[in-house]
Amino acid sequence: MDDFQSAEETTFVVDEVSAIIKEAIESAIGGNAYQHSKVNQWTTSVVEQTLNQLTKLGKPFKYIVTCVIMQKNGAGLHTASSCFWDNSSDGTCTVRWENKTMYCIVSAFGLAI
């Protein structure tokens, strides 16, 4: 049956995406301390790198990637997301990362075409 794509190609694989996100974060902000002047560039680069790697997977998906970087200051931060989609094929993956001076939360949503 070559007409239909196999299950791995049309479902959102959380582990794979989680690994891609972690790698993108490490390479963009790995050993750095929070710097106000650079944070804009960092969020952009984390998001763009993640998106690039996701599109290289070649799956028939649309992607949305968001990244929040917050300085560690004792303040609280909450994020929640609500989605209206097809549960069997679409999925999401959120990765929380931190170092001594900042928190980074990346969410990737994949919607099957």
Partner: protein, 133 residues
Amino acid sequence: MGELGADDGAGNTYSLRPSLQRRFKSSTVKECIHAILKEKLANVQYVPEEMPQLTKSLSEIIKDRLKEEGFDRYKMVVQVVIGEQRGEGVNMAARCFWDADTDSYAHDVFMNVGRGSTRDKVLYALLSFCYGV
């Protein structure tokens, strides 16, 4: 490519793209979000124990409200971020890989200004709409 009804009994009437009327309109959605945020967060203080519940319920409310707007065939993702204002720096970025012709997003920021010693919060709501086939 308009959406043809199936009543004339013709063969292929499954539309792959929305017509202009059915297309997602960023401005109407932004107003919707703004109204909901204003209504729900007007006098709310930042209380750490209550925040997770509030964030989740807000994103559900926004999603349900938008389902009623009538963007059928659209899939949607709503993300709500609530942070406490304590002088820390926060930066948020988003990128999407979709069909720029049919898909779009809307976002709104709400800041509540506390009086005296009340803890302020900033809320950022981001919605993305993707056209599902």
